[in-house]
Symmetry: C2
Subunit: 101 residues, 2 copies
């Protein structure tokens, strides 16, 4: 992907009520992949969870935020799964990569 494109950095701390969370996370990742302008997603979780999704445009991010199924997931997330989260909308201005091969 050529810069500029966009990244949504989602960092979170979960509650102890994680019932249904994993299934929803998988469903939302699969749904995100179907959205126009979706580029990719990377995530890892230890003390905090970090999920970064990459998008072609700001409009694509807005459409995904307003997706009805995603809105339901966001609501459940606030009500149950997340103690805290932060969302950062970023413009990826430059990138470089290293491969040991």
């Amino acid at each position: 992907m050529k810069e500029p494109y966009y990244a949504v950095i989602f960092t979170s701390i979960q509650t102890d009520q994680i019932e249904g969370y994993s299934e929803m996370a998988v469903a939302m990742e699969n749904l995100a992949k179907l959205q126009p302008g979706f580029i990719g997603v990377e995530s890892a979780k230890e003390d905090i969870g970090i999920t970064i999704s990459y998008w072609e445009t700001i409009e694509a991010i807005k459409n995904w935020k307003d997706n009805l199924d995603h809105l339901i997931a966001q609501k459940l997330g606030k009500a149950q799964w997340y103690r805290w989260y932060k969302v950062r909308i970023c413009k990826v201005e430059r990138e470089y990569e290293f491969n040991s091969d």
Copy 2:
């Protein structure tokens, strides 16, 4: 922190030669915190490692990239610890936060 500020997204896959890696990671995090313009860092590792550092300006990121001790760490990282990594320099344009309290 008020937007805009900057984020460096560092995603990586390690090799099996992780000797010395943890010590260096701690040392580099402590050193980064001393740099002018440093705001914070978040990281998590599962299949991939994700470390995001936040900075006030692009210049602060450049200075950190060129820091001598950091250059040595980068060199060791390429020679030994990382099979692959990708660095993305981003402008954080907007952010919002949720707290369940």
